[in-house]
Symmetry: D2
Subunit: 292 residues, 4 copies
């Protein structure tokens, strides 16, 4: 029998969803994978040039004090000089996590929380990104570019069978608590593109998403913007978001920069991702780490 | 002979400073420390209530779309609903890292880079936070509250001898590449305080900072706002920032939330901290992780 | 018979409310008042020091490029140098107008528009500040400080009789289309105060507000933060906002800097106030002008 | 003899420049021009859709509280409901004024102030927009579209002779203290254009700018983005900005929405423009008013 969701699996108050699949065993197994001690950052640089969908404004970085001020005569008490700065940014920018309050349907969020809990005044009082513990688990790279022998084209579907083929190619089984990282080649194909389109990209379909949920993975990441294929394979709108985030409580990692990982030749590794604990936020940029 | 700084130790172009002390050996040693598989987040929550010094404005979190909009009739194509949000924040807020471009003197940053490289138009073109690799190393807790048997009082100096006492109490030697985390008790003593003062706090003095630099630690963190004692023990302004950041290239982790670590009873652990790679930024909030 | 509101007085689609009381006659009458040609700005300076209620963050002003950057070596093509900047601010800051979508009750805004028209995604699609035409009309100063012979104290009520006394002292009748500016002395009494309280201040009560609405004034301004007395004279919450804005469609001008007007000795004058036409905004800072 | 600038004309401390040309006589003359009492707003709407040059981020408008929150169950003490909001915007957006600290050359601003007075930490401590008094004077429309019989094309120069022809067509002399508003047709030609170019537009050349300065006008406005022709007619960069703002202390009004004025058929009128008094800012959006 196909389960419909994981609501109430961890009790009516649970706000961690599939991250509950990561227990001490998964953590120890993951840290035991470390061989060379090489550390990789799987994140895009963040700046005003980081692409964002056209309905969002990109990152703005402002210096409140800088070296120019001293050059222009600012005082330096006791010789001391410093610089400081601020940012304005949408939270779903660059490499980021979608928290469980980010997407839903029928006025119900994951675990049955009402959508009325997500307001302008308070942000998300349930399932906010601050409720996500740091992710420390085994990372598994599913490299569709290697499966296909080419970068996937916009709109190309990654199916359940494709995921199985990628796992086979890696010589791995997807296991409970894994962080599954999908390479479609999308991000690397966007280098130097001026007006990046966020409307068409390769990604998984609903059936592939269900396969991942059935494997009880902790988190699904990809090197594209939405994890799922755009435009949507079915008539639904963001059906993979609906299934993974809302039905199964699986947070998504989007915009992963997988180049250094691909270059390493490794398919499994210690994976660490720790979001900014912004109270009531629907997501957060972050800089995930692979330790080889 | 006392060395004055570590400039040019890793070449004239180096922008990593003491993080160079973390090599594959340090990483492997650190991951091998994992025993129970427990994962701790060593970060303050980020919200408009997160205290900031009075010359800075705190975090603002704005919902661009939320559950209220749907309650008021916003369309839900294909049933899909979502929420998204933005933040405005100073980068030295909550638990954050000071990048090597944050503080200096005599118009020279670490490794001799000119302060003219830090501008409004570009941010820091040298030593920006995006140049810091993720930190994966051994974490060592130096618990001054346990040494003293009480929370330290504002203005109380933590000396070289105090650090040695804390290391002895932990039964550990400080080694090359360590992340040294200092507990003064300051943050826990501020709980519920309405107007947190950032002008007076316990912390290390210059001599203690030099002791850490001589041990070749990778990074120094603390549960206070400035790592160093305020007001300054000597006539200088932020002398510990000057010595650690500018002379020795040691980034600082400020505002660490050490409560869960203290509760665990552990003094050494796998420590992971990965800043947002904001191009040209002088720092970044982050959520460091201890794995026990 | 007491009218309850002015809904539908100008048709079911009207979004101008009492500003409809200003017609060409009122404009010509107002410009004919000019005698000396002196021009006064009735606005507070805007900066990070401009007081705001504690639940709002104040103005932040960031330079994107400045003279310091050139001092530090920024290029100056063809000799040209420039500076530019951005602001972040709440719209109800300093001297500002409350648009008709700012306050309401029972889910109905002025003229019966549903409160569902005010959303995160769109702002206010009805009664936004951009729907307010520039205000050009006769200004009348009602100087309660002169009536009382002293600055009013926090919580002191300005009643209908007080307004009548102030008009008599000015030798004026309040007429249709007037901009009535009330001086309580509050703003001038806050000079140099560090933590300005926005919870207690002198201002009008509901009955005085009704008197103004009955006179068919176009707009009501004051040198305090809420026009109305705080704490509220009755059990209701912001009852004057409810009556003037929601029932009678009268926008409010708050935080007026009346000092130069008081110094001039004039009680009637040409008054001009033109808000930033921010689409869907609930208000706007502005710099009203009196021409004597 | 050609004068080179108006520095020190109003003393070494002057920060008002050509606005000094508006005295009580000019104000009375201007208010006496009012005939019909019609009031026009000469400003673009401000929203995320307001075009900005690609190196700037546009306006962002965030609701902190709105009708959706009440629909989702937010409390309404005493029945009261309200909405509030914030904006983030560059100050040179939409219809705005360039303050005298916005542009200069050779490290000297208007009246000889050092460019070192413009810093990240303080903004412009000299010639900031808050130093500009409200502008109340005669407005004169110079309608180049009517002179040419067509909208001007990008890059088309408006010369001294063109301005003279436009004044003759209006039957007016340009006089001391005037606000000269130039219609090129640029803004109206951009309606519905998706990616507005700010690199090419019709406007005045340096000689025409000098002609205006010699007439001792108070302010020069236009319906384009830079007042001056782009690309620059000479080898210099923004030569009209250099001459008008820096040499002659003439602020510029950019992005004027002149459609309603053109429709009125009036060439002279009462003109009022009052910038937000943001301390140390290089400009401000505003909503100028013409009274017919």
């Amino acid at each position: 029998m196909m389960i419909e969701n994981t609501w109430s699996r961890w009790g009516p108050d649970d706000e961690r969803g599939s991250l509950n699949f990561i227990g001490p065993d998964q953590v120890r197994r993951a840290t035991a994978l470390v061989q060379t001690g090489e550390v990789l950052r799987l994140a895009q640089l963040l700046s005003s040039k980081t692409p964002v969908p056209s309905h969002r404004c990109g990152l703005q970085h402002f210096m409140g004090r800088d070296g120019g001020d001293y050059a222009a005569g600012a005082g330096r008490p006791g010789g001391f000089q410093f610089a400081e700065d601020s940012v304005i940014m949408p939270l779903h920018i660059g490499t980021h996590v979608d928290a469980l309050c980010h997407a839903w349907y029928d006025d119900k969020l994951f675990n049955g929380f009402s959508s009325h809990t997500v307001r302008s005044t308070t942000g998300a009082s349930k399932l906010g990104v601050e409720k996500m513990p740091p992710i420390v688990t085994r990372g598994v790279l599913l490299d569709m570019v290697r499966v296909r022998g080419r970068v996937l084209v916009p709109g190309e579907v990654v199916s359940r069978a494709d995921l199985e083929a990628a796992a086979a190619l890696a010589g791995l089984q997807i296991e409970r608590g894994d962080a599954v990282l999908l390479r479609t080649g999308w991000l690397e194909s966007q280098k130097g593109v001026k007006n990046v389109s966020f409307d068409v990209e390769p990604g998984i379909d609903v059936d592939a998403a269900r396969w991942l949920a059935e494997r009880e993975v902790a988190v699904v990441g990809a090197d594209n913007f939405a994890v799922e294929v755009l435009p949507f394979a079915t008539g639904a709108v963001f059906p993979v978001h609906q299934l993974l985030i809302r039905d199964f409580g699986v947070p998504l990692l989007e915009g992963l920069m997988l180049d250094p990982l691909v270059a390493s030749g490794r398919f499994e590794f210690l994976f660490v991702a720790s979001a900014l604990p912004i109270v009531g936020a629907t997501g957060s940029p972050l800089a995930p780490v692979a330790v080889l």
